[in-house]
């Protein structure tokens, strides 16, 4: 054997291009910085730009831009501690892995099962968005449909994507990179033109309506809680940490970079959208409001370009989330929190068919409800709980300083950033609708109950 089994202090070896394990084989790291950024951006951008602007503007007016900015700041406060943890534990499973190893099995189980269901809710949300855009295609083509096709189409896409990931040999990475490049090109052109127009370069400056909505800051924060779903993608980068080359450099850059980039795009999008139409009007357009904004600025070609971009973006978000949900199932199954059968791989197709089914099944059911805002908020709730606990795990691990904890990236002002990050993550939950909070709490209680029933003897703290 060439590589001896790694000794404990070698485990977080930052520059290792592969995990050496003489007993059972090595794992090739195949995702570079661009691939990491593409995963983050590709997962996030679908929601913030192509689903939320109408809903957000209806609730908070032009100040919805502030709601998106608040979300970006919270996401950054979590992305920095998450980067440190990911370089100390560059393994698949992301946030669940950090929390179960840093805080123990109980919190780990809540987050692990919560992450699976959180991604299930997020996928359903993206699928309804995808269905809305696919339905808009019919509208543009001049077909009048008796019922809104968004939900049936979303369900169809959900079934299709699950089947595809079961049997297809997806080259997910290459596809994701290409989609993100096309999206960023279309958006940069469109938002650049829209911003100049709104500032009066091409004629009269549009008079912006009053920045804050009638309710003041409260609707802004409520909207921030709603649209936080737009920032869930950066944590997906940590779930493939085991595949990322040079993790100590590429993980922090990809997580922080993708949050900053999409944050800027979101804020500009709201600015452009609210300068084209009044907030109430935007709200009427619903999920596909951006198509109307584009039509207002550049006519039919613009509408078609944004429609195409919206299809791509929601498709890529939905696909990425379904795959992440299946990886979350694998992560908890590997640790014996749920039966081992859930992580079985089909040798012929090389895919985890049970885990994909556990992701795809509930996703399709939830998509059928068509409750966009509820789906988004429950997804955000479950992720925010995880984000808050990621910050707590960082503080805990820095205090305890176990031997194996040797991150190669250290979050600047770690305690302060993680402290504020935890407070902000938990605090944002308070601004959600009561129904979302109730569902979120029920899922957490059920996850903890399952842990007490099935996995009390599993000890994960500090376990590698």
């Amino acid at each position: 054997m060439v590589d001896p089994a790694p000794s404990p202090e070698d485990v977080p070896e930052p520059q290792a291009e592969h995990d050496a394990d003489a007993g059972e084989g090595e794992l090739e790291r195949t995702i570079g910085l661009v691939g990491g950024l593409a995963i983050g951006i590709g997962t996030m951008i679908g929601a913030g730009i192509f689903v939320f602007p109408g809903l957000a503007a209806e609730n908070a007016g032009p100040a919805a831009a502030l709601s998106f900015a608040i979300g970006a700041v919270i996401a950054l406060l979590v992305a920095l501690p998450a980067s440190e943890l990911a370089t100390a534990m560059p393994r698949s499973g992301g946030g669940y892995f950090f929390i179960s190893r840093g805080l123990g099995t109980g919190p780990g189980a809540i987050v692990g099962l919560g992450l699976w269901l959180g991604l299930v809710f997020a996928s359903a949300f993206y699928l309804v968005g995808l269905g809305s855009y696919a339905g808009q295609v019919f509208t543009e083509a001049g077909f009048a449909l008796p019922i809104s096709p968004a939900v049936p189409l979303g369900v169809a896409f959900g079934v299709g994507l699950t089947v595809l990931s079961l049997f297809g040999t997806e080259n997910t990475a290459a596809l994701q990179n290409a989609i993100v490049v096309v999206l960023l090109a279309i958006l940069t052109l469109f938002l650049g033109y829209g911003s100049l127009d709104a500032l009066g370069v091409f004629g009269a400056e549009s008079t912006p309506e009053q920045f804050f909505p009638p309710g003041g800051l409260l609707p802004v924060l409520q909207t921030a809680a709603l649209v936080f779903t737009s920032y869930l993608g950066f944590a997906q980068i940590a779930t493939v940490a085991g595949d990322i080359k040079q993790p100590s450099r590429n993980l922090p850059l990809a997580m922080v970079g993708s949050v900053i980039l999409v944050g800027v795009f979101y804020v500009v999008t709201i600015f452009v959208a609210t300068s084209a139409f009044g907030s109430a009007r935007l709200g009427e357009f619903g999920e596909t409001a951006m198509v109307e904004v584009a039509r207002e600025f550049v006519g039919l070609p613009g509408a078609l370009a944004i429609l195409f971009a919206g299809l791509l973006a929601t498709f890529s978000s939905a696909n990425a989330s379904i795959l992440s949900a299946s990886r979350a199932v694998y992560a908890v199954s590997r640790d014996d929190l749920i039966p081992e059968a859930a992580s079985r791989i089909n040798l012929k197709y090389g895919t985890p068919h049970v885990a994909l089914g556990l992701a795809g099944g509930p996703i399709v059911v939830l998509t059928a409800t068509g409750q966009v805002e509820l789906l988004a908020e429950v997804a955000s709730f479950l992720h925010l709980v995880m984000y808050g606990l990621i910050c707590v795990a960082l503080i805990q691990l820095r205090r305890e300083g176990p031997d194996w904890y040797t991150p190669s990236f250290r979050c600047p002002a770690g305690f302060a950033v993680a402290g504020v990050g935890a407070l902000a993550s938990f605090g944002l939950i308070a601004f959600m609708q009561p129904a979302s909070i109730v569902i979120g709490i029920l899922i957490m209680v059920a996850s903890y109950g399952w842990y007490r029933y099935y996995a009390t003897d599993v000890e994960l703290k500090g376990d590698f």
Partner: protein, 246 residues
């Protein structure tokens, strides 16, 4: 023969897809230092860890069986097992890490009385000679050096080239009587190599730089291997010392 003189040859096997050590390989590589790479390609939607957990032990067991077979035949062996999303990335990394002189396209062979060596020019000749000499110097295997004439290349130039090549093989310990030469000007070089290969137990040829042609038709070594259906040893270019893939 001391271990440091042994030419390092990479043998990549897709071990879980049922690929096993082809017939004749142990004899072909008896004097080599073999890097036995078992790899398994996993689709993007599956974590490599997940596959390792489930299949690692089984794959490793198979690989060790093959390693024993090679060792019994006389080779020294390093075993690597890698779960990957991209086979080529893995193969390139292992070539680099072990500084492999050649990669074997693993096909079976029955007799091994002679080997066809395609010599393109002086570039890389030294590495080809080290491989051929290292593998076959102390055996009764005959070597045929084959050169395809370029458009404005004279037969004299080619003879000089192959004489030089023979000299290098003799330096590596080959018996001069065991080396023959063959010079031709065929229409399609790849067909010609594959056609001649049928009279031999194995082919040795050089690596080709990737280009549009190789992108469309595949690497010449792959094309030869597909037609010849026997083992092809592809001599690798020297890797630059700081070849750090970003």
């Amino acid at each position: 023969m001391s271990d440091t003189d042994r030419p390092t040859v990479l043998v990549p096997l897709e071990v879980l897809e049922g690929e096993s050590l082809p017939e004749g390989t142990p004899r072909l590589l008896a004097n080599a230092h073999v890097v036995l790479l078992g790899y398994h390609v996993i689709p993007g939607q599956t974590a490599t860890e997940q596959a390792r957990e489930q299949f690692g032990e089984r794959a490793m067991k198979k690989l060790e069986e093959f390693a024993t077979t090679l060792t019994t035949a006389g080779a020294t062996v390093d075993t690597r097992l890698v779960f990957t999303h991209e086979a080529q990335t893995t193969i390139d990394r292992i070539i680099y890490e072990h500084d492999c002189l050649a990669v074997l396209v693993p096909n079976g062979t029955e007799g091994l009385s002679s080997v066809l060596v395609a010599v393109r020019g002086t570039v890389g000749l030294e590495r080809t000679a080290r491989l051929v000499g290292g593998l076959f110097a102390d055996t009764d295997v005959e070597v045929v050096l084959y050169h395809i004439l370029g458009e404005d290349e004279s037969e004299d130039d080619a003879e000089t080239l192959l004489e030089g090549a023979t000299g290098r093989l003799v330096d590596q310990g080959m018996d001069a009587d065991a080396v023959e030469t063959l010079i031709e000007r065929p229409e399609t070089p790849i067909d010609a190599i594959a056609r001649h290969a049928e009279d031999h137990g194995a082919v040795v040829m050089g690596e080709t730089d990737p280009s549009v042609t190789t992108y469309v038709f595949g690497m010449p070594s792959e094309q030869v291997a597909e037609r010849f259906l026997g083992p092809v040893l592809v001599v690798q270019r020297e890797r630059p010392a700081s070849d750090e893939a970003a």
